[in-house]
């Protein structure tokens, strides 16, 4: 027994060394592990808030309609009624924040309409498509069609037209826009 505890100072020295190691580890851990790490998982909790902090470019339809309530009224029942404003008019978060700051630009219908309605075999067959050059011969689409409620020319504004009829392939050509 005395052989085991005869040289106590060896044990004390080892324990002290171990204690110093533990303290050094705790200090280093406190210094190196970022704040909030591990609160929700193996990541920094603050990163959630940082990801939320990015500025918003697209204001969203609700913000647009707050002032421009006439547009959804005009589009009501039409083929474009479901399309949100900024899909065509671009990001206008800055304008929603301060209407004097950034004015919306009227898009060029020849470019804008073709993005969706230029004929392309990969597009779903039931989606209304035309060959813009052949269909309008370089004329702006808005000459005949209302952008917010684009029924075929001559039919525009007629409430009786079923949405399915207007949506047939070539449905927009029947009015004789050429």
């Amino acid at each position: 027994m005395s052989a085991l505890f005869g040289h106590k100072e060896h044990l004390v020295r080892m324990a002290a060394l171990f204690g110093v190691g533990v303290v050094a580890f705790l200090i280093l851990q406190a210094l190196l592990v970022p704040k909030g790490f591990g609160v929700y998982g193996h990541y920094r909790a603050g990163a959630l808030e940082e990801n939320r902090a990015r500025p918003i470019a697209f204001a969203g339809r609700a913000a647009c309609v707050e002032c421009h309530s006439d547009v959804p009224e005009a589009a009501k029942g039409g083929r474009h009624a479901g399309i949100r404003c900024e899909a065509c008019h671009g990001p206008l978060g800055a304008h929603a924040g301060d209407p004097t700051e950034k004015k919306a630009v009227r898009p060029d219908s020849k470019v804008l309409c073709a993005r969706c309605h230029a004929a392309n075999v990969a597009r779903p067959a039931r989606f209304p498509q035309v060959d813009p050059a052949e269909h309008s011969g370089g004329e702006a689409c808005t000459t005949c069609h209302k952008a917010h409620n684009p029924l075929a020319p001559g039919q525009a504004g007629q409430p009786g037209l079923a949405p399915g009829q207007a949506g047939q392939p070539g449905g927009m050509e029947t009015g004789g826009a050429k």
Binding site: A47, A57, A94, A118, A122, P124
Partner: protein
């Protein structure tokens, strides 16, 4: 002088914290619908997205909107979301011809003829917001993670730029931002969805081919969509727990 010191400090502090556009947008957030922001609880949400391939017209609105909203480098061609065009010879789903000119940013110039014995369609791609993400598993420092509301996010200040996650993602959804040398990817517009807005891509999709959904909200139309459509996730064999559900997905899509 009607400006006191407090006013001056508040103004300059705001300007320092949020630069020009950001400050204006910040005011937009304070104004509009997203005033619910402070009440957002991560445990109340579980975000997912549905993509209806049969509705996608390949207009590229989502690609442009995403780059605008999330400050994605325009060149040399990095994308948080992009659109692919598939051209599949009849019955030969093993050998589709796939192209994505500039990710669909400028639309898709017609290059096929109808009646050539093949089918063509568009497939929008983005981060699948996996519940068991391979990219999260390989990150050595915890700089990418699954948030409690089911979005895979990146901690930019903590990312080393080691590129393990770029290789680990089976869907090719990650890239290294050349300006910061840190990884970037779709965050499902976390800054928007946590403030009551939808993502920039869903906001601008004219045919509602892509729709954001909250699986923890019993009133969300996503439940109806998932019940009534035959949906599929990309690479189900990888068991990534993808939460991006495709309707009308062809077997040729990888």
């Amino acid at each position: 002088m009607n400006h006191d010191r407090r006013d001056f400090l508040a103004r300059s502090g705001k300007l320092l914290l949020l630069t020009g556009a950001a400050q204006v947008a910040f005011e937009a957030v304070l104004r509009g619908e997203p005033e619910s922001a402070p009440n957002y609880r991560t445990t109340d949400h579980w975000w997912a997205m549905t993509i209806d391939v049969e509705k996608c017209i390949g207009c590229g609105n989502c690609v442009r909107a995403c780059k605008e909203e999330n400050d994605v480098p325009r060149e040399p061609f990095f994308f948080r979301t992009w659109v692919e065009r598939y051209h599949v010879p009849e019955g030969d789903i093993e050998h589709p011809e796939v192209d994505s000119p500039n990710g669909g940013y400028d639309g898709f110039p017609e290059k096929y003829r109808s009646g050539d014995g093949a089918k063509s369609f568009f497939v929008p791609k983005l981060c699948n917001q996996c519940a068991h993400s391979p990219c999260v598993q390989v990150c050595p420092v915890g700089a990418t993670f699954e948030s409690p509301d089911g979005v895979v996010l990146v901690d930019r200040t903590y990312c080393l730029g080691c590129r393990y996650c770029v290789q680990a993602c089976p869907y090719g959804c990650r890239f290294i931002d050349p300006r910061t040398e840190t990884v970037d990817k779709c965050s499902l517009c976390y800054h928007r969805i946590t403030k009551g807005l939808t993502t920039a891509c869903c906001e601008t999709c004219p045919t509602e081919a892509r729709v954001l959904g909250d699986l923890k909200n019993p009133k969300d139309p996503i439940h109806e969509f998932l019940r009534t459509h035959k949906v599929q996730v990309l690479k189900p064999q990888m068991a990534t727990g993808s939460k991006t559900y495709y309707n009308g997905l062809d077997g040729s899509v990888r």
